[in-house]
Symmetry: C2
């Protein structure tokens, strides 16, 4: 940096940002505790604690001295890393200063109240209970987006809270292409006479499933000195490069579901653990938002744990844990892990193909809702019609339909598209890793996941927020973000499985 | 309140204090997590998170607007409760504004680093590794006390961080009296020919011990909707009226030790759970510092769980959990729970008599250290000499001697006396409860702990910080704080046990 003043401004900025990071990560622990450990009675105090941390963070971020430091630095000479730090802090500062504190607090309060209402509505299968809350949240989020940029469509602005750099146009282009190319592929699969193997029917006790999830994490190389595995009703991963935890849930009728969930969250955790710990507290030590995060979870869930080489390696472990599976072949396990089911109602249980139709549906609904194209009361009908259109099934209940996801109760409109974008990106990254690594399939089949970890750390994790999302993708894969690799992969894999 | 301005100042003050409470309780969860759940690798990030919360709290508390609100209120007309709130916030504000932020941060950093060094020194049984850290911490704490009040002895000022209102002179008076009267009583016990029963020798597996600890908490009336039981290497209790958690540890050779530890921490938790939840976020919803807190843990540990009526009720439960105890009588269990052991080296394993000599020893050592009467390097020798003098035993190792407690690694000089003060107070409170409650022994023998809970909530818990410590004691027991009840109790109980 050119001047002492610039150095001072930069140090001031990074010191403030480190405190913000620490407070944000403290809130992460509180949320983990709330989902995993907290007794029921703790809710009122926990809401107060989280809201205090959020208010303190907002105050720290919007301090005018942050703005002054940013102004001083933007005018000056910065190295590439410094410029990246300034770009990322400025982006957050600009968003935070534009939104009035009262609105932030009202959104936080409304979402806190929304969660139990959503839970009740879902358990009573009564969307009408949840509808007024969605209406309130949509109003608040419209107001929020308007403060950030009154000249752009609300949904576009909201989407950038979750994926700041790819742009909604890219999301639309990718999702449109998925819809166009996957619908006929899914139709072919449905019409296929092939019956895939079902080696894992029956009941699998939860404790042994937990042991198997731990085996899977051992196998894939989870660092237990920097993590834990626990149960949560809605599995998630949370943490820092020093402590990135995995949660999962066990369904005694669905052993593969728990395993898949564990490995998905493991993928998130490996990203967090692969971030450069010497940059902890700066944007360079932070994940590159949701698209890239989801690319890591989906890469391990789909490209690794739904592959033939993985099951060649892992079937013996499953047999060690559960009796009665002597005849199960790796091929049968592979087929079971990739079956496209008929009663495909629940997003988190979907296969790699139909998953995207669940997302397309949510994306279309939430965008139209935000734009005021239809009323909240219409959500169940629109949802069910689209399920019929895209997946050929119609939910009998709202609990299995439009009440299945937690996201809207968080006020997270614009979040869903990052799931598909992340999955698509995982295919692009995996194709690059596969080209770069000598016999990746062979390594996985022999239980050696180091080359893949190393490639991902080197090309994705270690950069933190150094690059914008499109630049990171180009740096890692040598080409712009596209659905090509995913569609190639999906067409080949499912074509072979279902003898298309 | 007299004026709108005063009302506004009061509202401003309590709003700020609520945020401080929330942030402090968030830090409490982070500490609980660190001790109970966090993987080893998480330490660096956790230290940063806790230090950020502590810095933010310090900034919020020392904001000049807090001072202005306090000034405005002190001049005005306040109700009793309002005056108590102002008194307590002002006390904290005065202390916090006198100490420079840099010193607070240095103390926090040094204690963070001290903990692993203490652990290492203890596991390697090498006091010389820990000595430089104690020296640094003593220097820092001297400086800290000097900022708060340069005209008073350092130790007196430090003591008031843990017990703000009783005064070091009271602590000295009580401890002197304990030393004078307990040493001859302990001598008599040692010389007695009585051999108390040892019904719980052998090995008790940890899982069943955990089940028994849960039985004990059920029996005593722990509210599981607002708590949990977990394992921690150094048991503690932590929380809010909405979520007050208990930790314990299991030693397979010492079943009574774990049970006692569980019940001790339960006592702390009942205090927290008995605080008025509608005052949460104000000093009226907070515990009255360490003496009163310890009185609650010691009351349940000693006056309840080391009593004959308790064992009459609880022995059948122990027999249900562990086989081979058919012949154990309540009397034998009572004797086992009250045995004065010869090899009395560890404070937390001590009986009710010798416990205080462990405290007297620490009190004398830390006060003389702080006053510069001897060098840190001399601690092991001084410790061992005093053990010999007061308890007739000499530790073979520092791990069993001056390295056994965590407190000095926290920089907590002045904390230990509150343990004895709390125990002494528990006797005074229990004597009052026993007078007020019709047949308390009978209630306990029949497993009915409600009258005792009710008396404690009514006379102690519900007041939070409404009264100063001496006033609270007078309100609850009708007389000033003294060692009379404890010495009566101890003399009678141990005289009978050992046929003095």
């Amino acid at each position: 940096m050119a001047t002492d003043a610039a150095t001072e401004a930069y140090d001031d900025l990074t010191e403030r940002y480190e405190r913000l990071t620490n407070i944000g990560d403290a809130a992460g622990i509180l949320s983990w505790d709330q989902e995993v450990m907290m007794p029921e009675g703790g809710t009122p105090a926990r809401a107060g604690q989280l809201s205090a941390l959020s208010a303190v963070s907002h105050d720290l971020l919007t301090d005018e001295e942050v703005g002054e430091a940013l102004d001083a630095l933007e005018a000056g000479d910065l190295s590439g890393d410094e410029a990246a730090v300034v770009r990322e802090v400025k982006r957050q500062y600009d968003r935070a200063t534009k939104v009035p504190t009262e609105l932030v607090e009202e959104i936080s309060k409304t979402t806190s109240e929304a969660l139990p209402i959503w839970k009740e509505a879902r358990s009573e299968n009564d969307f009408s209970k949840f509808a007024p809350v969605i209406e309130d949240l949509i109003d608040l989020k419209r107001e929020y987006a308007h403060h950030i940029d009154p000249d752009r469509p609300v949904y576009e602005v909201l989407f950038e809270d979750y994926e700041p750099y790819l742009g909604l146009d890219t999301a639309e282009r990718i999702l449109d292409r998925l819809r166009e190319e996957l619908v006929p592929l899914i139709d072919d699969v449905r019409e296929s006479d092939v019956e895939l193997a079902t080696p894992f029917s029956g009941t699998f006790d939860a404790d042994t499933q937990e042991a198997l999830s731990r085996d899977a994490l051992d196998t894939l190389g989870y660092d237990w000195d920097r993590g834990r595995l626990d149960v949560a009703p809605h599995p998630f991963s949370m943490g820092t490069p020093f402590d990135a935890r995995v949660t999962t849930r066990y369904d005694e009728e669905d052993m593969l579901g728990a395993l898949t969930s564990t490995i998905h969250e493991f993928g998130h955790a490996t990203y967090t653990l692969g971030l450069p710990d010497d940059e902890y507290g700066t944007p360079l030590g932070e994940n590159r938002n949701l698209t890239v995060h989801e690319s890591q979870s989906r890469l391990w869930e789909n490209h690794v744990a739904r592959s033939q080489p993985f099951w060649s390696h892992f079937v013996p472990t499953v047999k060690d844990r559960f009796s009665g599976l002597d005849g199960v072949t790796p091929r049968a396990a592979y087929e079971a892990a990739n079956t496209v089911h008929e009663d495909n109602l629940i997003r988190v249980e979907a296969d790699e193909l139909t998953y995207h139709m669940h997302i397309v549906l949510r994306f279309e609904i939430e965008r139209e809702l935000i734009e005021g194209d239809f009323d909240v009361a219409e959500i169940p009908r629109v949802w069910n019609d689209k399920m019929d259109e895209y997946l050929g099934v119609r939910p009998d209940t709202d609990a299995e339909g439009c009440l299945q996801d937690i996201h809207w109760s968080h006020g997270s409109f614009g979040y869903f598209p990052t799931y598909s974008l992340g999955s698509v990106l995982s295919a692009q990254l995996y194709a690059s890793a596969d080209s770069a690594i000598d016999d990746l399939d062979g390594a996985i089949e022999s239980g050696n996941f180091d080359p893949l970890h190393d490639w991902l750390t080197e090309n994705v994790h270690r950069h933190g927020k150094r690059y914008t999302t499109p630049d990171l993708i180009e740096e890692a894969t040598g080409k712009p973000f596209s659905a090509d690799d995913f569609l190639d992969y999906a067409t080949t894999k499912y074509g072979a499985l279902y003898e298309r």
